[in-house]
């Protein structure tokens, strides 16, 4: 059985960097969103969104060589989640994480693929 594998290490690095950056800024974003709306529910929603986005980016960033299409798709999901999370609170650091993750996602799809035969 043959499988397509990615050849680039850039999506791995970018996915992990984006994901790691997401986590601390998720806390910051949750606090800001909560303060703006004066609601604990909003705080936990935005905190949760940011943390989930970060974890997805780290986990699927690591899979960018093994399963490039799946990793790329999940990095896009992570980007959308973090854009919602950080866009609302004008969190600049979080937006850098979003950019890094999105570039990782695009490179996942555009990188050169090699076909590996598996027994």
């Amino acid at each position: 059985m043959s499988k397509k594998r990615g050849t680039s290490t850039a999506p791995i690095v970018l996915g992990i960097v984006g994901g790691v950056l997401d986590l601390p800024f998720a806390i910051c974003s949750g606090v800001c969103a909560g303060a703006l709306t004066n609601s604990e529910e909003v705080t936990s929603t935005y905190l949760g969104l940011g943390i989930v986005a970060g974890i997805i980016a780290i986990v699927f960033g690591c899979m960018a060589k093994k399963r490039p299409a799946l990793a790329g798709g999940m990095l896009v999901v992570s980007t959308i989640l973090s854009l919602v999370c950080f866009g609302f609170s004008y969190n600049f650091g979080g937006l850098i994480a979003t950019v890094v993750t999105l570039i990782g996602a695009i490179l996942c799809f555009t990188q050169k693929k090699e076909i590996v035969e598996e027994s």
Binding site: S8, T9, A10, V13, L14, V17, G18, L21, V84, G87, F88, Y90, F92, G93, L95, I96, T98, V99, V100, L102, I103, G104, I106, L107, T110, Q111, K112
Partner: protein, 255 residues
């Protein structure tokens, strides 16, 4: 001026969005259009740039605090508050980080110089987007003018709070025009095409030095009539002059 853009009912800062678009566009353009660098090396460069973005923005953020808050108490008090960013500090931080990491990976100055030459035009593209964001966000503005190029800022903007209804120099637009001129030179003038890094520093810094005289927003602690950004420009130009002298003396083709 358009400080906020609404997408699917949610408001986003146009400054942040413009910077995001600029960075993504520049990196993808480098990935697709740059032919002189092999694909494996491009991967490494993009990976370094991914981390470098964080270092660059953190340096810009920290630099702004250092330039605007002179005492330790004020610096500490405002540390976690977003008070803006200083591009030149970010530039210094990101270049130092990029050079250090690239050298650790490849241990080759010549290759490093070639890579810096290759990424410079894409960096300028990102910078242009950043300045578009500045103009839309209204964070950077010029001094009052009666000229035909003067622009009026809306009532809730920083510019309006400082100068009221007066027409102001569109300082970010001046910088965009200068950056576009630099890109033109790098594309069509042979010496600029061959030495893009040197061309960038030797053209951007004097241009920025001049544009600073037209800027009306808070420029930090003015000393001898020149702003902190202008002092940084002079400092980098001095370092460039020393490096170029060294290069000429040693007969090298790279800095």
């Amino acid at each position: 001026m358009l400080p906020q853009i609404t997408i699917f009912g949610q408001k986003y800062s146009s400054y942040n969005l413009a910077i995001m678009v600029g960075i993504i566009f520049a990196i993808l353009a480098f990935y697709k259009w740059e032919k002189k660098i092999p694909a494996t090396e491009k991967d490494t460069i993009i990976s370094i740039v991914g981390v470098d973005l964080v270092v660059g923005f953190f340096s810009a953020f920290l630099g702004n605090k250092l330039l605007h808050f002179q005492t330790w108490e004020a610096f500490r008090e405002h540390f976690f508050e977003f008070t803006g960013m200083t591009f030149l500090c970010g530039l210094i931080g990101s270049i130092l980080f990029f050079v250090a990491v690239y050298y650790i990976v490849y241990r080759d100055w010549k290759k490093l110089y070639r890579t810096l030459n290759s990424i410079t035009p894409y960096f300028i593209l990102a910078q242009i987007w950043g300045r578009i964001g500045c103009f839309l966000g209204g964070c950077c503005f010029g001094k009052p003018t009666d000229g035909i190029f003067g622009v009026r800022y809306p009532e809730n903007s920083y510019a309006f709070l400082k100068y009221g209804d007066a027409k102001l120099y569109p300082a970010p637009v001046l910088e965009i025009v200068w950056l576009l001129f630099m890109l033109f030179c790098m594309q069509f003038i042979k010496i600029c095409r061959q030495e893009k890094v040197i061309c960038y520093f030797c053209m951007y810094l004097p241009g920025r030095f001049m544009i600073e005289f037209f800027r009306g927003d808070n420029r930090g602690n003015i000393l001898w009539g020149i702003s902190p950004s202008q002092r940084i420009c002079l400092g980098i130009l001095l370092i460039m002059a020393i490096l170029l002298y060294q290069r000429k003396r040693c007969g090298r083709h790279y800095i």
